[in-house]
């Protein structure tokens, strides 16, 4: 009875609803991309010149060790079977064993992940607050000094490479005027204040470029929506400047801004690698670079796979968020 009532109100919640249909389409596309990515990663290790066992073995190259690896990875089996096994293990959370530490790759990733996630979250927060704020100001104060300043900062933010900004900030705030720490990581749970003291500089470094991009897009989108007819309507209603700008113009601009944020997340991941290297944070990026230098291919394979999966997943989330913000997509209507 209840089910009937619900389905009367919302016919075919899971299949017929345009939003569900849209999400399903996007999920299907993502799964295809995920599959291709896993093939590339799998093939990447096998494409290495020479014996993959040599690659997976890292520095330990005795015939005995190689034989053990051959057995562990089933390298003598058919390539398709090898791939199936690789995926099967990965899906169960088994990403192999690090040749450097001898520990499961999944554990190393599990330890590095919180560090990178905190860094990314702080940077994202910074980029959103600063970027959207400056973008709105630049659009609303068009042709005034405020727009100039915001534009100049954005251009600088885009042109200063993250790693140099990191070095300069360390010079300024950790060496010249030591207010923040330049390196090391303390878990937030252990000492929140010390954690933030160490994470603020990295977050600024990682967030600044993103903030610049967000600012430019927000400004452009706001200029568009500020001249739109519905903003004139909002003004004709007697709404305050705040309500017109925040409730109407910005609300519409967010659609664009969220898309851009999604497209920029790849840069965030790349930037995290460098930032962690500069500030010696034991995150994902450091794990990756260390893996490269120690020829720890099992770890590298796991890290690349995880990063790409995360990236695809985030993009999927962004697309879904996008449709929540814009009812025209959510409800599948015409524009």
């Amino acid at each position: 009875m209840t089910t009937a009532q619900i389905s009367l109100k919302r016919p075919g919640l899971l299949t017929g609803h345009p939003m569900a249909k849209y999400v399903l389409t996007r999920v299907r596309q993502s799964v295809i991309t995920l599959f291709l990515v896993s093939v590339v990663v799998f093939a990447g290790i096998r494409a290495l010149p020479g014996d993959p066992a040599l690659a997976l073995a890292g520095e330990e190259r005795s015939p005995k060790a190689l034989a053990a690896i051959r057995a562990e990875y089933g390298l003598d089996d058919n390539i398709v079977i090898q791939y199936a096994r690789f995926i099967g293990h990965a899906l169960q959370g088994d990403l192999g064993t690090s040749s450097r530490t001898g520990l499961p790759v999944a554990d190393a990733i599990g330890q590095a992940l919180p560090v990178t996630l905190e860094l990314a979250a702080l940077s994202l927060l910074l980029a959103i607050v600063l970027g959207i704020g400056a973008g709105v100001v630049a659009a609303v104060r068009r042709g005034r000094p405020a727009e100039w300043i915001a534009n100049a900062l954005a251009l600088l933010g885009l042109s200063i490479p993250t790693f140099w900004l990191g070095i300069v900030l360390v010079l300024a705030f950790a060496i010249a005027v030591p207010v923040f720490a330049a390196s090391g990581f303390v878990p937030f749970g252990t000492d929140p204040l010390d954690n933030l003291r160490r994470m603020i500089l990295p977050a600024i470094v990682l967030g600044s470029g993103l903030a610049a991009v967000v600012m430019r897009q927000t400004r452009a989108a706001m200029l568009d929506s500020l001249s739109a007819d519905y903003v004139r309507t909002a003004r004709a209603k007697g709404l305050s400047r705040r309500e017109v700008i925040g409730g109407h113009a910005l609300r519409n601009s967010l659609v664009t801004v969220v898309t851009v944020l999604g497209l920029q997340l790849g840069h965030l991941i790349s930037g995290a690698v460098v930032t962690e290297q500069i500030f010696v944070l034991p995150g994902f990026g450091k794990l990756t670079i260390d893996a490269v230098f120690t020829r720890d291919y099992a770890t590298l394979q796991g890290v690349v796979l995880c990063t790409s999966f995360a990236y695809i997943f985030i993009n999927l989330l962004v697309d879904v968020a996008y449709s929540v913000i814009d009812p025209r997509i959510r409800l599948g209507g015409a524009r």
Binding site: L36, F163, V168, I175, Q277, T307
Partner: protein
Amino acid sequence: MTTLALTGIRARAARSGKLRALRKNKLAMTGGVIAVVFVLAALFAPLVAPYDPAQPNFDNVLAAPGWSHWLGTDDLGRDQLSRVVYGARASMQVGVLAVVLAFVVGVPLGLLAGYYGKFTDSVVSRVTDTMLAFPFLVLAVGLAAVLGPSLTNATIAIGISQIPAVIRITRAETLRLKHVDYVAAAVANGGGDGTVLFRHILPNATSALTVQATVGIPAAIIGEALLSFLGLGVQPPEPSLGVMLSSAQSFLAPAPWMAVFPGLAVVAATLAFNLLGDGLRDVLDPRGATR
């Protein structure tokens, strides 16, 4: 053939007007001048550099900027100015070659995907999506790991990372131009696919592609500095702005100039190309311009 002639005339007339508009844009011209200075310094590095960039001088390590060494010396007593000049040479080399690589691969694929559509388009688009699923640095790191770290491999990695963007832009331009009157006319007049693609569509897509190149070069310069900084690009003792910054990290307190000047060089180069690119975008590609 008249259509072909007309296309050419139209493009040329539009181009001279656009150049004049660009010359009026002060920021873009400033960027252009700095960019030219960089290109010249890179080309004539041996003439410009006052010292041998690789020559250590252990009597004069970590010297502060002064008359004999304008930008100071590094931990091995090498002249920083000379190293910055040679580093800029490496940056420009990667910047140009990586973009060329991305264009050589990306433009034909974009043309094919946009022109033939259907199956070709789906295949190319899926491949592009897969490439985009790897963040730039992860891709570069992976390639450096597979190919081994060097300037050439860094160039290849950066070039490959820029291919998807080139494909997407070329594809979008092709889709747009396919339906423009004079291209449709060329098709109707029995122009072969090759003629249509390379004589009608490609010349008219140059605006968008030029803009992409001015975005791609600074991105590649930063990319090179970044990979070298991480040890995945140029290998010491070869000079590179990224390598210089990497070694500067150990001497931040005693010799901050080691970190400041190579960084400023990277910023100046990327800023110059970004300004030029912004100006070009305003002039050439009004649709993509941020107003």
